[in-house]
Structure formats: structure tokens, C-alpha cells
């Protein structure tokens, strides 16, 4: 049974990736602007007091919102295109469908995150960017892994939950964008609220933040898998 779940999830995972690969506009429309933003953002914001942290939030913001949107669309959009009901009428379990879709969106989100961070890492490796002199590449990578990666899972899970409980793809996408925007604003607020912050990326606080987000990920994923019932997935918002 568990083997079937993973095998079936993998089938859906591959299906999602095949679809995205076949969508000719997806890659130039998402990866290119993210990489461009990754290249210029440190130069624009590096002089500010909280530069490294702020750039981190800004770099992650776009991939997070995009992966949440992709997750919501892969559920609500498929429901509207009437392909989801065909999947649900097959032998696949609701959990296999959801896990396959979510894992595909998570991997894509991680790739987008890496696309945003690569220009910063490369520039930093060639020579410190002004305002980023104290930024250690290893710490940046740890930030990506410990905080960025679970944040992508959080965005994807939330996108899927929103899609599961809303009546149409349009509403789901709108709410997902609002949620993503709020998340970025909250992250900004947290930067300014941090008392006496130096703007440095601290391994300890990154790890702690990562653990909190991971706990949220696990909670939301369990909630999502419990809420996934065929009737709800077909009937919209039911």
C-alpha cells in the first residue's frame, strides 16, 4: 500500500513536470526574471543596514510566491480543466495525487530559489559585493537550505490548501498571491522588529527559523492529506 502511494505519487510528479516542460512560456517567464533580480538586487540593497537579510527575503519572495501559485493551479486549475476528476476516477488515491503534485511544485520551487541565489553566490565568490563584505557563502547556502527550502514547502502546502477550499481557480490564485504577498511583508516586518539587529546572517537564528517553518510544514501537510477527500476535490470548496 505504501509502495503504491510512492509509486503513484511519482507518476503524478513526472506528469506535472512533463506538463511544465511542455509549457513553452513557463521557463523564460519565471527563471529569467528571477535570475536577473538575483543579479541586481544585492547591488540595489547592499548598502542598507540590513542588506543581506533584506536581500535574502527579496530573493526568496518571488520563488515562494511562484511555487505557491503553481501548487494552487495544479489543483484548482486541473479541477477547472476537468482533468482532476479523471485522475480521481482512476485507481489513484487522493493522497497520491496530492503528494505527487506537491512534491513536483516543491522541487520546482527549490530550483527557482536556487536560480535566484546563484547570481548572488557567484558574485560574492568573485569578490564581495558592496555592503555584503561580511556575508559568508557557506552561511548563505545554509540559509537557503535551512530556511528557504522549508519555506518553499510552506508556500506549496498553503497554495494547495487554499485551492482545496476555494470555489474556483481564479479565487484560489488570487488568495494565494495575497498570502504570498503577506508572507513577504511579514518577513520584512520581522527584519525591522529584530531588536539591535546587525543585518548579519546568523547560523543559529537561521536554524531556529528553519525548524519553526519545518514544524509548520509538517502540520500543514498532515492537515492537507487529512482534508483531501474526492468529493471536496471535485466539488470545489465543499
Amino acid at each position: 500500500m505504501r509502495t503504491d502511494l510512492f509509486r503513484d505519487s511519482l507518476v503524478i510528479f513526472v506528469k506535472e513536470w512533463r506538463e511544465w516542460s511542455a509549457a513553452r512560456t513557463l521557463w523564460p517567464a519565471s527563471v529569467a526574471p528571477i535570475m536577473a533580480w538575483g543579479a541586481v538586487a544585492p547591488h540595489l540593497l547592499g548598502q542598507l543596514e540590513r542588506g543581506p537579510l533584506m536581500v535574502g527575503v527579496l530573493l526568496a519572495g518571488l520563488p515562494l510566491v511562484l511555487s505557491a501559485i503553481l501548487s494552487a493551479d495544479s489543483l484548482a486549475g486541473e479541477r477547472e480543466r476537468r482533468t482532476l476528476e479523471t485522475l480521481l476516477a482512476s485507481r489513484l488515491s487522493e493522497q497520491a495525487i496530492l503528494l505527487g503534485k506537491m512534491s513536483a511544485a516543491v522541487v520546482l520551487g527549490w530550483m527557482l530559489l536556487l536560480s535566484a541565489a546563484t547570481p548572488v553566490i557567484l558574485q560574492q565568490w568573485l569578490g564581495p559585493i558592496a555592503g555584503f563584505e561580511r556575508l559568508n557563502i557557506a552561511t548563505l547556502l545554509w540559509g537557503l537550505l535551512a530556511v528557504g527550502a522549508p519555506c518553499v514547502v510552506l508556500a506549496v502546502t498553503t497554495g494547495a490548501l487554499i485551492a482545496l477550499y476555494t470555489s474556483s481557480a481564479r479565487v484560489a490564485l488570487f488568495l494565494t498571491i495575497v498570502f504570498g504577498g503577506m508572507l513577504v511583508l511579514i518577513a520584512f516586518g520581522a527584519l525591522f522588529w529584530q531588536p539591535g539587529g546587525s543585518g548579519e546572517l546568523l547560523v543559529g537564528s537561521l536554524t531556529l527559523t528553519g525548524l519553526v517553518v519545518l514544524a509548520l510544514d509538517i502540520t500543514l501537510t498532515i492537515l492537507l492529506l487529512i482534508s483531501a477527500r474526492r468529493e471536496r476535490m471535485i466539488m470545489t470548496g465543499g
Binding site: 506528469k15 511542455a22 476528476e85 479523471t86 485507481r91
Partner: protein, 318 residues
Amino acid sequence: MPPPAILTEQLTRTIGAKTIVDRVNLSVSTGVIFGVLGPMGAGKTTLIRLLLGLVEPTYGAAWVLGYNVRANADAVRAHTGVVLQSPGLYENLTAWENLDLFGRIWHLPTPERNERIRALLRHHGLWERRNERVADWSHGMKHKLAILRALMHRPKLLVLDEPTAGLDAVDRELLRTDLAVLARQEGVTALIATHDPAEAALCDEIVIMHKGRIVAAGSPDAIVCASAAKRRVMVTGHGFTAELVDLVQSRQDVTHAAIDEQGRLIIEVSAQAVCAAVVNLLVESGAAVDSVTRCNDDLATVYRTLVEETHEDRPVSR
């Protein structure tokens, strides 16, 4: 005698105060092509969803292929091929990729999967277009591919919601032939939901659904014959006055009489044998009768009549 492929008892589905499927009793024999005929909103799609365990019944029970739908919906779906109203294809993928995806979903081993896809595409004339994106195809071709997708795992039950919508005459005929072959040679039972009486007329057995209820059941011929209890005759001649119509209608064995736009007298009688007495009455009343013709009802007419009537009576069981 094999158990019925589909059996329902008082199957009911309500949403709020609205009853979508109302106490439906069905018994569909194995290996038949079974039609559910009804207008839009009759409850056909919900009935299909109930039979597949996609939605839960509010009341009643259903067994499909011997499995209780409420308790064992996974087993039902595992042996069923489904084409819903929309083809439900992944438009960015090619025809081959769409079939391959469902072959993987059904856990068909790679050699068998490839062979099956090849055979289905070749037999249905889509082989040459296997590497084209489905998005560029006509609606009819998409529908055809969706049906092939449903056949990938050689299901015991095939459920088709409006299967020939968008298909041209040739493809409709091919589909009907294929369904007949599947039903007879491989013992596959097909459940077809349709609003088209011509399509339903080709099924072995049908039910007519209206407002969630079954209002007629049986073979298409039997439904037409049963409806012919209300036989209509068309009388041509002169001297058909309103008083004469009232006089004819006053007979207990005449259910309805009216003069149509061409001046013909249309009479609905309870039995064909009444016709002679009615014609005698017309002649005795001074009308000149030139001809008397029996109106032959077909399934489309019967269906239209049944749907147009208000059904406050109890649902029909089959």
C-alpha cells in the same frame, strides 16, 4: 446467472434542499450496453459520480461489479474505465504521453503498455498523430483519445458520459461498433449517459431520467411500445369543428383530441381498437373522413413527451 454489473437501491443524493438523484433503483446485467437518457440537469453525471464513489450517497446503496460503492470504491474504480463529459486530457502532452500516463497509473508493465497504446492508436486511426500535442486537436479527436484512455487497462465496466458529443457520424458509428464488440466479445458492460435519443436507441437497455428520477425503463423498443398505449391517430377530411372535437374528447377512451395547423384531427386514444369507434362517431356527426393514419412514435418522441410531462408520481424501478 451472473450478478448484475450495477445494482442500486433507492440511491439518493441531495445538496441542501435540492435532490439531484432521487431514489434510483437500477439493475444492469453484465455485458450489456446500458443507456441513461435524460436532459441536462437530469442527474446523469451525479449518478455516475455516485456509482464511481466520487461522491457519497445521501441515502440508499449501490453495488458496482459486486463491490459496495460506499465501502469499496477503490475496487470499483480499479475495474472501471471512465470518460466524463469533458475529455479530461492533458493538452500540453501528446496523444502517446496521455495514454502512457494512464498506462502508468494502471501499473501496466512497460512492454504491455507500449503494445496496448500502439494497438489502440492504430485501430482507431490516431497512430500517425501520436506525437502531436492534444491541444491542437479537434474536439472529436480528443474525445476519441479519451475513450482510448478509458480502455487502456481493459476495464470490466466502461462509463461514458455523453460519449459521442463532438464526434462526426463516422466516428460515432465506429464507437458504437467498438462498444458492441467489447460488450459481446469481452463481456464489458458499458454505461452511457446521454441526452441524445438516437444514441440511447442503440443501447440494449435504457432508463430515462428526469429531475433525478427514473421515469421509464426497459429496452428502447419496450419503452416505445409501452408509451404507445397512448396511441395517436391522425384523421384527415372536412367538417372538423370545435364541437366535434369536444364530442370526441368526451369519450372515456380518448385522452386528447385537437385540430392541428393543417386542419387535421389528432386524437390520442387509449387503445388502437378504439379508432374504429371514433371514426364512426365522426362520420355519424356529419364529418367527412378521407384517411386515418397511425402516428408512429419513436424513442425521441417518447422521450420528449416524458420529459415535458410533470412527474409527480412515484419513480419507476427496473
